[in-house]
Amino acid sequence: MVVKSRTENLSEIREFINSLVGKIGVAPNVTEDIILAVDEACTNIIKHSYKYFPDGEIIIKMKYSGKKIIITIIDYGEYFQPNTIHKPDLQEYYRHKKVGGLGMYLMKTLMDEVKYSSIPGKYNQVLLTKYVNSGS
């Protein structure tokens, strides 16, 4: 799937993931986890990589091997490589009115692996991996 970097497209992205992952026959909560993780990844791309430029491209692909689902998301925005991901300290967020960073933590929690590999000036790529027991 190739989609423009606009938040209005997030619902279309979620439906795309739902239909792809739905075909595999994994448990509904696994599908929901993947949908949310992809939403968070794309939201980060729109905000941080394209900085709300509405005509950037986001490419989303899925690979399923029988044991794991790998979602690859590529963008051509600014270099974006998040630092180590910690569980956000909500009390700290509260004191400093900080609201960012929650999505990154959710991605990390919902998926088994989150791997960024960017080439500055060329593209950013994130791989979201979820191990599944088929039929479960």
């Binding site: 619902s11 279309e12 949310l36 939403d39 939201t43 909500l90 009390q91 509260y94 999505g103 959710l106």
Partner: protein, 113 residues
């Protein structure tokens, strides 16, 4: 396109905000506007009813973080109610139950004020 809306009902001096649909980075500004309008009117006692909310991402959670301090500084609060399990799990994953009171029903949340 997935829809979201927030409607407000006053019950005494408490404002109940009914969330419906999909709350993501695209629709979060709708909820921000709703909270901003309540604050502008000096309404700081808020119950957010999640009964018809199907989906929330961190952008939606961020709206609650953005307004809570201002509301509490004015002796108010946002209490949350009636979440489905999926939505509650997201709040729980991020540790929100430490900062917000979450109730099974709207009535319980209203009575806590």
């Amino acid at each position: 396109m997935a829809e979201f809306n927030a409607s407000v009902k006053d019950q005494g001096d408490i404002s109940i905000v009914y969330l419906k649909g999909f709350l993501d980075a695209h629709t979060a500004p709708v909820l921000e506007n709703t909270f901003s309008e309540l604050i502008d009117k000096g309404k700081y006692r808020i119950v957010a009813n999640f009964k018809e909310l199907s989906y929330i991402s961190s952008a939606g959670l961020g709206v609650f973080m953005a307004f809570i301090e201002k509301i509490r500084e004015n002796n108010g609060d946002i209490k949350l109610s009636s979440m489905n399990e999926k939505v509650y799990n997201i709040f729980d994953l991020l540790g929100f139950p430490l900062l917000y009171e979450i109730f099974k029903t709207e009535d319980e949340a209203v009575k806590k004020f």
